[in-house]
């Protein structure tokens, strides 16, 4: 290996020093801006930049996904989930779903993660070290070795009907946001409305659930 310049945190925007997962809000920036000699070397020698970045994003996603599952501290696994969300958003970009990537980050990271973190903090069990259920690990591993295996076999050996011109060579032209908006209010109007009702009921329901308990707690405390 020729001598590499020391890797700076700016170069690896989704990893902190020492490999810790960091919030992935620099991922996008890195993707757009980050061109450094390593990348150009890789691009020159092996692949295109696009593919390298893709691999990196993919690895990030998968690894942080595993970390979600395996980390003992629940806060840690929550943040790993955060990184996973970022990675998935990046992948969305590669698929040509830019609006989708934005939505993903907004809602998941901005909404769901906040909720999760609040829930973790509200339930005091956060200080308990959540261990795996010992008896279940082995069979689960067995099953979850088998399941991916099956899926891999299927994915690899199935003949997918792929349209010509796909493969990430080009991001779809045109304004996805506009098209999606049009579809939502056009062809998918009913699902749209239903989803809104669902959201409403979820909102009301969660409030109701919390309220009762709060009321009861108050009664108990008094």
């Amino acid at each position: 290996m020729p001598s590499d310049p020391p890797i700076k945190s700016e170069d690896r925007p989704d990893r902190g020093i020492g490999g810790q997962a960091r919030s992935g809000d620099r991922g996008m920036t890195g993707l757009v801006i980050g061109i450094n000699p390593l990348i150009s070397w890789i691009r020159r020698n092996i692949m295109e930049l696009k593919e390298v970045i893709f691999i990196m994003i993919a690895l990030t996603t998968v690894v942080s996904g595993w970390l979600v599952v395996s980390l003992k501290n629940i806060i840690h696994s929550a943040f790993a989930l955060l990184v996973t969300f970022f990675g998935v958003g990046g992948l969305f970009v590669y698929v040509g779903a830019d609006f989708l990537a934005a939505t993903q980050i907004l809602i998941y990271i901005g909404g769901v993660m906040i909720l999760v973190l609040f829930a973790i903090m509200l339930s005091e069990g956060v200080y308990n070290i959540s261990l795996f259920h010992r008896a279940r690990v082995l069979p689960a591993l067995l099953v979850l070795g088998a399941l991916p295996y099956i899926l891999f076999r299927v994915i690899m050996e199935a003949s997918w009907h792929v349209r010509s011109g796909a493969g990430g060579e080009e991001v779809m032209g045109g304004n996805t946001t506009q098209t999606i908006g049009g579809l939502l209010l056009g062809e998918y109007l009913l699902p749209f409305e239903v989803i809104s009702v669902l959201l409403l009921s979820a909102l009301v329901g969660s409030v109701v659930l919390i309220r009762k308990e709060v009321g009861k707690r108050r009664g108990k405390a008094a």
Binding site: T84, L115, L144, F152, T176, E213
Partner: protein
């Protein structure tokens, strides 16, 4: 084969799905289970987006992915509310100890 191809997306989503399932089955903390659940939803959404990209109708899968995201959000809200209320009742978030429905 091409690195960036339908199969790769599918592999990624398959892995994420497996991890999420593993978490659901194995983890003791209820919120960990929720995290696993989120992983699964993400994997599904990724699946849809990938397929939409590689199919003839480019945009329609994405619409569905939006729905999935919305759904996941709503669901996580409700689940968290549940977890919190359960925590307040039984003073624990360990799923193993929430077994009043034991048969």
């Amino acid at each position: 084969m091409n690195i960036i191809s339908l199969q790769s997306y599918l592999i990624i989503s398959a892995l994420l799905f497996s991890f999420g399932l593993f978490a659901i089955i194995t983890r003791k903390n209820a919120i960990s289970v929720l995290l696993g659940f989120e992983l699964i939803m993400n994997a599904a959404g990724l699946n849809f987006a990938a397929f939409s990209h590689f199919s003839d109708s480019v945009i329609h899968g994405q619409v569905f992915t939006i729905f999935i995201i919305a759904l996941a959000a709503a669901e996580s809200a409700v689940i968290l509310a549940l977890i919190i209320s359960v925590y307040q009742k039984m003073d624990t978030v360990q799923i193993d100890e929430i077994d009043s429905l034991k048969g």
